[in-house]
């Protein structure tokens, strides 16, 4: 993540901050210094060729610019030794570049034994990190100085996971698993509680958390940017999230625990969290907007009837919503394509019930049904264990 200071830095290059190089964002992983070094070396070599070449060209133009009709001073046609020299000479430099690049590449390609494994599932236009044990979150949280391996798969089109501060990038190709590893070196700082409280207050009612505006996560951590770098459709440019580096494994575990289940928040609130965190918000609006969304809006959907692609008319009740989450392609609302991925094995029954509760709050039909169904939903969530 580049501090906002950058804009100033670039406007006034002479006052550049030492911590932030001209060419690169922070060096926040073990790879960064090496990559930057190779980059700088190639840059210097290129300049060592470029500047003399251009100077010589400029000199020739100034010196030998003549009036029309004047003869050239020389009509030499070739000089084989010279030409061979400048053909073969640079090759050695190229070989050096190739070797340096490949050595670093092989390091970046081979994760060390016993890396901390995080699953990444990408879909239009969301990354979902799987921390194991049914904990999913859209932010990537890792531990400082600990090799971390990402096992990545995509459910729809090609995406790419790119963390500029770590200098790593890898495409996520549907139909195969791709892996990426890195070792973060700088822990994210935590903002002061007052600042966090202020931001929380500001963003209340404003929907999703604005990472760009506050420059820290809702938990109060400064973060590094994580982008999708392979073009993946409409909201490609919105497919970004935050990387937080924790100081210790214990701190990460605590964070995972805090995000693993509903805890003591209300079902509606947890449903809303899941709605935002698990990628629903990418395709479904909650305010009735249809333009730019792949799936139907969730406003007033609960308890209303909808025509299906199959021709049937179905009531969007608890059962239908549950089925839509677990087997989305079974009954698709007319006018939409069967593109939603299944969340089978990724959401506990409590999670699903929470989402249903949240959907009820969005619907005029929800309030009436609420009383009758609430008890039912509560019982089902206590009776069953997660579907995974």
């Amino acid at each position: 993540m580049i501090p906002a200071l950058t804009t100033m830095t670039l406007a006034l290059p002479l006052l550049a901050d030492h911590h932030d190089s001209f060419w690169f964002p922070d060096q926040a992983s073990t790879f960064a210094a090496g990559v930057d070094w190779v980059y700088d070396m190639i840059l210097y070599i290129s300049l060592a060729f470029f500047i003399p070449m251009m100077a010589f060209t400029a000199y020739s133009i100034v010196k030998y610019k003549k009036k029309r009709g004047e003869r050239a001073e020389s009509q030499v046609t070739h000089n084989t030794p010279l030409e061979l020299a400048w053909s073969i000479g640079p090759s050695f430099v190229l070989v050096w570049m190739f070797i340096q690049g490949s050595i670093s590449y092989l390091d970046m390609r081979t994760p060390p034994e016993g890396s901390y494994d995080i699953g990444v599932q990408s879909q239009k236009w969301k990354f979902i990190m799987d921390y194991g044990g049914g904990t999913f979150h859209d932010e990537l949280h890792v531990v400082k100085d600990e090799p971390t391996k990402l096992s990545m798969r995509s459910t729809d089109v090609i995406h790419a996971l790119f963390i500029p501060a770590f200098r790593v990038k890898k495409d996520i190709v549907p139909g195969r698993y791709n892996y990426l590893w890195f070792q973060a070196t700088i822990a994210s700082e935590k903002v002061s509680d007052e600042e966090l409280a202020k931001a929380k207050k500001q963003s209340e009612g404003g929907g999703t958390w604005d990472y760009d505006k506050y420059q820290f996560t809702p938990d109060g951590y400064r973060f590094y940017d994580l982008y999708c770098a392979e073009y993946c459709g409409t909201d490609h440019s919105e497919m970004q999230t935050a990387v937080v580096v924790h100081e210790t494994q214990a701190e990460l575990d605590e964070w995972i625990k805090a995000n693993s289940s509903r805890g003591d928040v209300s079902m509606v609130q947890w449903g809303e969290t899941l709605f935002n965190r698990r990628g629903c918000a990418g395709c479904h609006s909650i305010d009735g907007t249809k333009d730019g969304f792949t799936g139907p809006s969730f406003k007033d959907v609960y308890g209303s009837s909808h025509a299906m692609v199959s021709g049937e008319e179905l009531l969007a009740d608890d059962n239908y919503i549950r089925e839509s989450i677990l087997d989305p392609k079974a009954q698709v609302v007319a006018g939409y394509s069967p593109v939603m991925p299944t969340f089978k094995g990724q959401l506990s029954d409590d999670d699903i019930a929470s989402i249903i509760e949240f959907l009820k709050t969005l619907s005029v039909n929800g309030e009436a049904a609420d009383d009758a169904e609430a008890a039912d939903a509560e019982t089902s969530s206590t009776e069953t264990t997660p579907a995974s």
Binding site: A4, W23, S60, G69, E73, Y105, F162, V168, E230, E238
Partner: protein
Amino acid sequence: MSTAVTIRDPGYPTDRENYLTNSSGILSWIFTLDHKRIGMMYLAGVVASFIVGGLLALGIRVHLLRPDGVLFTGPEGNNIYNQVFTLHGAIMVFLFIIPSIPAALGNFLVPIMLGAKDVAFPRLNLSSFYLWCAGAVFFVSALLSSGLDTGWTFYTPYSTTTDTSVILATLGAFILGFSSIFTGLNFIVTINTMRPPGMTWFKMPLFLWATYATSIIQVLATPVLGITLLLLIAERTMHVGIFDPEYNGDPVTYQHFFWFYSHPAVYIMILPAFGVISELISVNSHKHIFGYRFIAYSSIAIALLGFLVWGHHLFTSGMSSLTTIVFSALTFTVSIPSAIKVFNWIATMYKGSISLTTPMCYAISFVFLFTIGGLTGLFLGTLATDLHLHDTYFVVAHFHYVMVGGTLIAFLGGVFHWWPKMVGKMYNDMHGRIAALLVFLGFNLTFLPQFLLGSRGMPRRYATYDPEFAFLHQMSTYGALLLGCGLLYALVVLMISLAKGKRAPANPWGGITLEWTCTSPPPYYNFERPPIVGDPYDFHNVEWDAEGERYVLTEPERKLAPEETPSEQPAHH
């Protein structure tokens, strides 16, 4: 001038000889088999495509003036942005750059430079122009139906699932591919079998070598694009399961297929530019090109090596480590022949007699910009840095330095160089140079900041971006506006010359290649008899004739066959 020499100057063509006027009426153009007329029609076509693609580019840049976008807002904003950048890429690549120099300048110049009457297959030549038109129609209809938002690379599975008109656009690209194949095939055969006596391989101008190398790529690589796009269409309509992971296909295979064509295609775009620059620098330095054979061989070397490096577009896509490293190594090999050319051009200027004409200004900016483009390629060929820079603005900047700073600038230089020959009119050289300067400045202001954007981590194809990148994006946008003004200026200079330009002499720049021995514009039959061929870069016998504001060829008296008046019949039917 001494009396022992003969001045050779063909003078001016009569209306009956001039290829532009020897027959009239719209049908005489539509059914023409004259390579020069076909070249001019191509020129008009590619310039029109360039204007469309360029306006789209300006749209992109203006949109990116602010982090959350300026032009394309609202719920469909991102979608429109995606369509705009896709069409910018697709139109520029398939309709403009690939046919620009080979088809427009190549068609006009190849037979004349070679000393032939026409290309080997004039009907095929005309049909490839109409295939180009048909391809363009498909692209326009894709634009008008439901747009295209896949990026010009049509990566699966995005292209098999999006609901935009992928099929129309891929059919268009498929047809354009055949247009390109037929042009290349025609040039290979022409250069192989239609050289007049004395025109040996090493007496050919370097532009012909470059065209020959380009044609090899066109013939070998383009069919693979054809089958790739056909399979993509099959995948989309019938789900044949080759590229679509939903049916056990593999998207990385698609990328292999696509880049097996599209990387060599990059050399289809740049190699003819090398040829143009070789001509421009030598003629305007009035000095023998330095290292003719190295330049000639390096064109062929680039054409062949270009087939070995396509994998460097897939470094991050999950190729195996072995393949990745092999491709990285091969990628570096292709930079050597390019470097040879640049060194030789600079050496040609040294101790020459440089005229800073408009074409020369473009040639010098080409050397500057292409060198930057080439050197930044090293960052992308090196694996460690590529992983960071891939799919960022660094790649965008590198690509545009090579394709715009290279091909477009060379194309402009070539058009300005041969404009007097094509239309028989001189343009205002001072205004031409001012336009060239504006283009140069605007271009650098547009794309230099993008290197920095990329290395700082700005991914490409983003409709909106993080606020910290705003300053660099703004610089880039202002640069694009300046570049646009410069290009418009250049166009105006040429258009004014059509109306008000002075009549062009046969040899306004002092070139030795055969096209300068024809009148301006050339007669429809090019040469009455097979021309006398010498070294195309031997400037000993060229003199400036200040009175006639022209260069003339002087040569020791030699016995020529008695003159005969050429037939009054048009060369096309």
